[in-house]
């Protein structure tokens, strides 16, 4: 396979994953605004922060308002991570690697873009927001479904999956990092309603508030939330789960190409850490420090993969 094709697949799936995550963050923000009397624009400031867009936003706007924040996250062309920009980029990459995709996967991606261009042609009215978010999530689901249902389990599949999970791990780690202070026992007033709302919003940002309830008996507790999103191997957006997948996908390439690269060692080391570590270790090390380290390692892994497999 061409190095450029591997690169295109990797980024196509990173962007689709990112678009979906941004939509989730907006959803969580919306939820927070709806369930609280007297929601403030400060809530959206937090959402922009979780999305890693706060700085870019403030370069364009003077202050954070809910409507500007939502518009910036959904539609802004100046924001390379807005949902629209992500889907443009995903579709561009998909066109570039069209020959590597099944017709179903390509069409699902193309229709995602066609749909979104129409939905996001104008500023979205507040009353339409839930259905727009729903469409984004559904469309992303259709791409995923077409991909899983029709693609051969070969190198193409594995490079695509690596893109998905590197992006997802990065997103989950960032969401946690932005809110890490909410999870620190020292500053938490356990059980207060403010905390509950904050915690719930973290879980909602990764569509995991129901799942959390099942696993931890619906008791919000910072250590459990951190455990769920970092170490729980069953939670499909946890760092542990992402790395299990990345390691499996990289192992496939190792077998197929009969070639072991630096990326393999990096990914293995990270996975071992997530498998063996306890949430107590993480908290002792410092949640923020742990996440910062993780994000750095995850980036480095991405770089090693693009070098090792000659993306450029």
């Amino acid at each position: 396979m061409l190095g450029r094709t591997a690169n295109g697949l990797y980024w196509m799936f990173r962007y689709i994953e990112r678009a979906e995550n941004i939509a989730r963050l907006i959803d969580a923000g919306l939820r927070m605004a709806l369930t609280r009397s007297g929601a403030t624009d400060g809530d959206w400031d937090g959402v922009l922060q979780s999305a890693g867009m706060q700085q870019a936003f403030l370069e364009e706007y003077e202050a954070v308002t809910d409507s500007d924040a939502i518009d910036f996250m959904l539609r802004s062309r100046n924001n390379p991570s807005s949902v629209m920009s992500c889907i443009e980029a995903a579709r561009s990459n998909a066109r570039m690697v069209r020959t590597a995709l099944t017709r179903e996967t390509w069409e699902a991606t193309n229709e995602f873009w066609i749909d979104l261009k129409q939905l996001l042609a104008r500023k979205v009215r507040p009353q339409d927001l839930p259905s727009v978010i729903e469409t984004i999530k559904r469309r992303a689901g259709l791409v995923r479904g077409a991909f899983h249902g029709t693609m051969l389990r070969n190198e193409i599949y594995n490079f695509s999956r690596i893109g998905t999970f590197i992006e997802r791990a990065d997103n989950t780690a960032r969401i946690l990092d932005v809110k890490y202070y909410v999870l620190l026992p020292s500053v938490s007033h356990v059980g207060s309603s403010l905390d509950n709302i904050q915690w719930e919003s973290i879980l909602r940002s990764v569509s995991a508030h129901r799942a959390y309830g099942w696993v931890y008996d619906a008791v919000y507790n910072p250590a459990n939330i951190a455990d769920f999103l970092i170490l729980n191997g069953q939670m499909p957006r946890s760092l542990h789960y992402c790395y299990e997948k990345i390691v499996a996908n990289l192992s496939y390439l190792e077998r197929e190409y009969k070639q072991r690269l630096d990326a393999h060692d990096t990914a293995d080391a990270t996975l071992r850490l997530l498998e063996k570590g306890s949430i107590k270790d993480v908290m002792d090390q410092g949640l923020h420090e742990f996440l910062e380290d993780f994000i750095g390692h995850n980036n480095r892994l991405g770089m090693q993969i693009s070098e090792g497999y000659r993306f450029y």
Partner: protein, 464 residues
């Protein structure tokens, strides 16, 4: 579809019967379905000079254009003869230039032609084939009467539409294909791959590795490039993927560089090799021409084939065909005035309101004047351009082109069409029974180019 007596012409008989039984509203709805299929699939093209460079759909008309077996036989013979002559002509002008010595084509027209590549002099590609994939544009003026409008020996495009149009028709109207014996076009990608492999460099061991070279996703025909690569099951490469290593053209794969044997390039000559042609080209591969001259890669079509698309050369095609095949051309040329000749120029200027004037190097319907439909100002402006650089233009009469029906709001209406059959040349010449029918959607218009608002139809060649 109908002849003078309002009876359906023989090839349309069965279709007409079917059509008469259809609910018009239903057909309009089907027509919209077709558009959705195309949009969903991403069968689009980019129009240059368009505001947002956005992707456009080529309008698709759901009434097929039908050609009888007998008419096709004559066409196929004529096309084969012409394609053989084109390859012989290319071989000759890049070697001994017998045709010039014989005084049949002026030397200046060849050697001063910007599409003539001195770099190709003395170069004989594998198998002696220069133009592997040819599209011959043809118009029909009456029963068994065909004219060649132009030759596309450089990089004929549109074959993906031929295939997608058929695919769409079979999805929407399967019953029609039970009732009519339509010859298949679906194996074109397979045939293309085979014919490219057949002409791999002689030194190539094992199965030749084929790749399609595209300028990238912003090119107007990108959809077609990816479609063909996908259907053939070969890599779609860009210049940045390729590099010359140890005298071979190699592509960068996830496992390192791998040699390519045959390159079906959809990048123009000028951009192919920055070391030989345009130094600012980022689309090409530095050094590929050296590899080519050393006989280590097949480039399809060969560089320097564009000269056959030149409209001044076209005007000599009857002589060219006769010179190399020893027989009169089976397919006629449209009578052509070369404005470089003084008498012709005078005639063209006097009759500009009746003629179609074209740039000799133009393509895609750009830079031409359709006299009868142009405004007075357009004609005057064009006459000035013509006087300034007469050798840049040729002129042709507007033929009374036959029309075919298209679906409109209140039934069907006649429109002018042309036909581009596709030809593959390897050790043999293969003509795909079908082609791309382009249709001028505006009433009375003669311009069928998609960049100028033309549409397409499925083209049926019937079995006997």
């Amino acid at each position: 579809m109908l002849n003078a007596g309002a009876d359906p012409r023989p090839p349309y008989r069965s279709y007409h019967e079917w059509y008469a039984a259809q609910d018009p509203a239903n057909l309009i709805a089907k027509s919209r379905d077709a558009e959705n299929i195309f949009r969903k699939t991403g069968i689009t093209f980019n129009v240059y000079g368009h505001e947002d460079q956005s992707e456009k759909l080529i309008p698709f008309d759901i009434i097929p254009r039908i050609i009888s077996a007998r008419e096709w036989r004559k066409l196929a013979q004529g096309i084969e003869q012409r394609v053989i002559a084109l390859n012989a002509f290319l071989d000759d002008i890049y070697h001994k230039q017998e045709i010039v010595k014989a005084g049949r084509v002026p030397r200046a027209l060849i050697e001063k032609n910007p599409t003539f590549l001195p770099e190709m002099i003395g170069m004989r590609p594998p198998g002696g084939v220069y133009t592997h994939i040819v599209g011959t544009d043809i118009v029909r003026t009456g029963e068994d009467q065909f004219y060649v409008l132009e030759d596309n020996a450089r990089t004929p495009s549109g074959v993906s539409y031929m295939l997608e149009n058929r695919e769409t028709m079979m999805q929407m109207f399967p019953e029609l294909f039970f009732a009519n014996k339509v010859r298949p076009v679906e194996d074109y990608p397979y045939q293309l791959r085979q014919s490219l492999e057949e002409l791999a460099p002689p030194g190539c061991k094992g199965k030749p590795r084929v790749a399609v070279l595209t300028p990238g996703i912003y090119n107007s025909a990108y959809y077609e490039h990816s479609f063909l690569a996908d259907q053939m099951g070969v890599e779609l490469v860009e210049g940045s993927d390729l590099r010359v290593i140890d005298g071979k053209v190699c592509m960068r794969t996830t496992l390192g560089y791998q040699a390519i044997d045959v390159l079906y390039r959809r990048v123009d000559d000028d951009f192919l090799d920055p070391l030989t042609f345009r130094p600012d080209s980022a689309l090409g591969i530095p050094g590929i021409m050296d590899v080519y001259r050393a006989g280590n890669i097949t480039i399809a079509n060969a560089p320097g084939t564009g000269i056959c698309d030149d409209k001044a050369i076209y005007s000599y095609m009857p002589e060219i065909v006769e010179f190399y095949t020893g027989r009169k051309a089976i397919l006629e040329n449209v009578p052509t005035w070369r404005c470089s000749e003084e008498d012709s120029l005078k005639y063209v200027l006097e009759h500009i309101d009746e003629l179609v004037v074209k740039e000799v190097h133009g393509s895609g319907g750009y830079g031409m004047l359709v006299g009868p439909t142009a405004t007075k100002k357009e004609r005057l402006d064009f006459a000035e351009k013509l006087k300034a650089k007469p050798a840049n233009y040729i002129a042709q009469p507007t033929l009374s082109l036959s029309t075919v029906p298209i679906l409109v709001k209140n039934g069907v209406a006649p429109r002018h069409v042309d036909l581009r059959p596709y030809v593959l040349v390897s050790k043999t010449v293969k003509i795909i029974p079908g082609g791309l029918t382009r249709v001028a959607l505006k009433e009375g218009s003669l311009v069928v180019n998609s960049s100028q608002g033309g549409g397409t139809k499925d083209t049926w060649v019937l079995e006997d």
